[in-house]
Symmetry: C2
Subunit: 433 residues, 2 copies
């Protein structure tokens, strides 16, 4: 009996985080963490949820894109979808008229991510497993069939990708057990937001150290003198051995990045994240050459696997920060994981926002089990915001993400949260108008 | 007396071109040439029109983005806008929440192009001049103030850009007169669409030669044997001296491009356009190295000036094909013209579609008058479709674009066309439903 996708519900969900400056940085001064949220529903009533993360205004544009994309999956049988997620991905990204709006970037790609993520959630619920476990149980052949290789094969041939996966097959079972027991290492960004006072930063850093965190990320880029002062403050608090990462959120030009990092080098940063435009592969490569041994990290705005391919080919990044909504779902992310493995670059996904932690735990756990087989220089971002809205929220134990156990992609929100934060009619917003 | 922008009308305009396969290529199999069209209206009733070109489905997403962007220009005085178009550009692209949807790419950037183009149309109508003439009358200082240099200055410093413009000041008046008398050289794409039979292609090529055309562009990429047969046919018709360009519309991978062009080299192509993903700077650079002396051309899907910067820095393109809707208006295009001049790469804009010819004639004429000062290896695309819908359509004389004389950016459509082709309620569509 086929079970066809017959209906979709799209929602514009916004949390008024700008009221407390949670998440503010040099580029994103007052974000309202938001999501274009889609629920795919089958004839039998099975539901799969997906979202793409946004920061307020414009979420409605992503919802319009969800409406435009839904006809491409409407009527598909969920078992056929589960068996050919690579084919469905090409179908979603290959519509010749919609492709003009990208291709594979911006609003149409963000919305594609929400739909692809919902398909994975649906498939996983149908199969009764969490997404990371479905991925960990796939054969190398099944895994490479998920990826669209058209524009990637000059960097990594699918045959070579399959060999990379096969090499790691022997240790898979042990690494699954290790993840189940100990979880995946995390780092925290909560202490470094620009909107906080020095005293609040100091208090948050101390509290985070007491909780066992060992990697700390601070926001830079608004004013270099402020950056120097706050970097000194945080380095004083964390001592010489814990890692300090910096994040400029794209505010600098290429030469400005090099000049500013020459001053911030005194505080021994492990990486500088998003020093300049996410589109500037050659700019990142030049920055990386000139500020070594400080690493360059980027990815939360890296639009697709083709850009990651080039960042890797050009030796532009020391850390690869894939985003689970900027890239169009596990299919595209897996292509990047495999390329990063070939080029020897650790993947440390972007998280925070709304639901990004819930998503990327599946990705990093799979990466360890089946692709990289290593935890060296790998940490997964964690921000302690908004998890209470999820039915199956992340579980952090001793600074590590514990693998989710429930079927799905962990992204389903509570009905009450969906109702309250729907924009503009939910209670969180209608009181404001 | 200020004259503020108080209202905007957004329209979803679609022409059912897929019914005749006009404009079909290997990637875009059945486009309905379309536009998200915005009219900005001031208190005094002055109107400025702008559009972004799309190919059917998804135009409504661009219209939603126009709605989201309009508040950023609502209430601005048109004289202030005219005096600070560079500042308004930064305002439109700098909204921190909307920026998340790009930045500077995809739907939000296409819509930004429509708004910026409408502001230029409005400013030009207020000043009583066509856009090309406003640009040609600006001082170098005024010109460089139009551009956002943040992510470009590692390739071209604004001071250096000003020097490039100043060097060309002496000949400006003579080149204005030359353009007025003789126009800007064009080439035609009408003969090379994939949807046409060999006989129709042969007939169209002969007719185009009879009209005086000297450069011909054919579509390739669906099937290499077909491509070889049609290239032979067209080369036979046009003889050895006329130029033959090829356009693959992104269907190939990097190594596939190199292999296919080694076969098509027999027909002496002047350029191969869009061999692979528009995002692949390093891929284009490798193709360019390996197929020389055939040139690589790209740009109609090149998302922003940062990508063009890298294509130039990497020696990846022999021709720079800016698009007047993919880039966000004259401000961003001028940054690219100046970088292309520094790197010695001719700019041959993308045109065709709906209104693209109307737009880019202003750009190329300005490029000749004030930036490049040269017509060598420069031709402007021309497709003879849909011009009848414009109030001030392009005028082609002896295979050359004659400079528009009416105030504005030449993009205003006839009211009747707007009514008839509004989707889905106009007469052109409602009969279909």
């Amino acid at each position: 009996m086929p079970d066809r996708i017959v209906k979709a519900v799209m929602r514009d969900i916004r949390f008024p985080t700008s009221r407390s400056l949670d998440g503010s940085d040099a580029m994103n001064k007052a974000p309202d963490y938001s999501a274009a949220y889609v629920t795919l529903i089958t004839e039998s009533g099975l539901q799969g949820d997906g979202l793409t993360f946004t920061i307020g205004r414009g979420t409605e544009i992503c919802v319009a894109a969800l409406d435009a994309l839904f006809p491409l999956v409407e009527g598909l049988d969920i078992d056929e979808v589960s068996g050919d997620l690579g084919g469905v991905w090409k179908r979603l990204t290959g519509d010749s008229q919609l492709r003009w709006l990208g291709p594979d970037k911006g609003v149409i790609h963000l919305a594609t991510a929400a739909i692809v993520n919902a398909l994975w959630d649906l498939a996983a619920k149908r199969l009764g497993k969490p997404v990371w476990r479905i991925l960990a149980d796939m054969s190398p052949k099944e895994t490479i069939a998920l990826v669209d290789w058209r524009y990637l094969r000059d960097a990594l041939d699918p045959g070579e990708a399959r060999e990379l996966l096969e090499e790691k097959m022997p240790g898979r079972a042990a690494r699954i057990a290790e993840m189940e027991a100990q979880g995946y290492p995390a780092y925290t960004t909560s202490a470094g937001w620009l909107g906080y006072s020095d005293d609040k930063v100091r208090t948050l850093v101390r509290a985070a150290m007491a909780e066992g965190w060992t990697h700390f990320k601070m926001k830079v880029g608004a004013d270099i003198e402020d950056d120097v002062r706050r970097a000194r403050l945080i380095r004083e608090e964390i001592g010489p051995d814990r890692k300090l990462m910096m994040d400029a959120n794209q505010v600098w030009g290429v030469e400005e990045s090099i000049a500013n990092m020459s001053r911030l080098a005194a505080f021994d940063p492990w990486w500088i994240e998003e020093p300049t435009s996410p589109d500037d592969v050659l700019g990142h490569a030049r920055i990386a050459r000139e500020i070594a041994p400080i690493n360059v990290a980027t990815g939360e705005h890296c639009q697709n696997a083709i850009m990651f391919k080039q960042l890797l080919q050009a030796n532009a990044i020391g850390f690869c920060q894939i985003d689970s909504c900027r890239l169009a779902g596990p299919n595209e992310i897996i292509g990047v994981l495999l390329m990063a493995e070939k080029f020897g670059v650790p993947v440390c996904p972007h998280a925070g926002g709304v639901g990004l932690c819930e998503y990327v735990q599946h990705i990093s756990i799979f990466d360890y089990i089946a692709v990289s087989g290593s935890l060296e220089n790998r940490v997964l971002e964690y921000v302690d915001h908004l998890h209470e809205h999820f039915v199956d929220p992340v579980v952090i134990r001793d600074g590590r993400y514990m693998p989710p156990q429930k079927p799905g992609y962990s992204i389903t929100m509570h009905d009450q949260s969906l109702a309250e934060y729907t924009f503009p009619d939910g209670a969180a917003w209608s009181g404001q108008n």
